[in-house]
Amino acid sequence: MYDIINMTISQEQIQDLYAFTRQHFVEHYDLQTELVDHLANDIETIWVEQPSLSYLEARDKAFKKFGIFGFMDVVSQRQKAMGKRYNMYLWQEFKKWVTFPKLLITLTIYFGFYTMLSFGIAFYVLVGTYSIIAIWSIYKSIQLNRQFKLRKKKSNKKWMLEEIIFKQAGVSGLLLMSQFPSLHQFSDMMLSSNSMLSLVSLCATLFVLWMYISFELLPNKAEDLLNETYPEFSL
């Protein structure tokens, strides 16, 4: 009677699988880890059926099962799912600003805008507010980008949610810059009705909150959010 010797993946081969996923456009450690375990399991199963196959042959056989686009679909869908998670964190934070006690700050910002816009200098108020936020968001984008690079250098790992937290706000900043030309449409005539004044004040308040949450609050809470999302983050 013969003993069946199960061939298992070595530590070096695990490292090679990490490199393999990177070569196939999986940049983030969280997804790499899951795919490495999947490939390792499949290679070990392939070895049970075909023990004569080399590691590289078994690895390529396992990879082929992901289809002609390889890991690309998995990566894009993961990004979509993580974007959804980021929006959920954004929303959770936002909800605190429409309930007590932070609601008082939100109302102060809202009535501040409402009062300033009703003085007949709406255009200057909007351009002034816009310029302050734009300069601040550019400064924060550069700062967050630098922080992200330092974190990556320190840990040698890149997490998908971490990248979204530190870079998504910058995208919002760019979006903001692109809207600058449309400001001239807001004349004092247009803001003469109470309903229009309320609407513009509300939009400006929401915009200030969105910028503050994405540029300041979420990056400050990054460690907690990453620990909550990735149990392996502190392993």
Partner: protein, 141 residues
């Protein structure tokens, strides 16, 4: 094209035998090669409902084993579905070091358990409807 569109053509009074045979074969091959998105989610939820936690590869192997190889979950479809369910709060994850690597386990949240019941009910209703269309005589009995 959806399975339902083909099944409707299976009434033997409407079509000649040769055509019907071709269509049955087509459905058979589709069922083997392509897993419908809605069913995939239900399968994942059902499997996780029956065990405490599972990892991705284990799910593919379990489906293969239960269906004796008739149904194969493709890797390219499984992970997007798992990540979507996780983002929706239906699944939660746990990571453990197993052998020389990290393994990510999925398990149902409370919301996920409720969703499993509703998805299974939905699928059972769908199968019932399909039975009526495929075999009207049987459904009348």
């Amino acid at each position: 094209m959806k399975l339902a569109h083909f099944v409707i053509f299976l009434d033997e009074n409407l079509l000649p035998n040769s055509f019907m045979h071709k269509n049955i074969m087509y459905i058979w091959s589709m069922a083997n090669s392509k897993l419908y998105k809605g069913s995939l989610v239900t399968i994942i939820l059902k499997l996780l409902n029956e065990s405490d936690k599972m990892y991705g590869y284990e799910i593919t192997q379990k489906v293969k084993e239960l269906t004796k190889g008739e149904l194969k979950i493709t890797e390219g479809a499984l992970y997007p579905a798992l990540h979507k369910l996780e983002a929706e709060g239906l699944l939660e994850v746990e990571v453990k070091k197993v052998d020389n690597r990290l393994r990510k386990y999925y398990k149902l949240t409370e919301k996920g358990s409720k969703e499993t019941v509703s998805k299974l009910h939905e699928l059972q209703e769908y199968i019932k409807t399909m039975q009526v269309l495929v075999n009207p005589k049987l459904s009348l009995e």
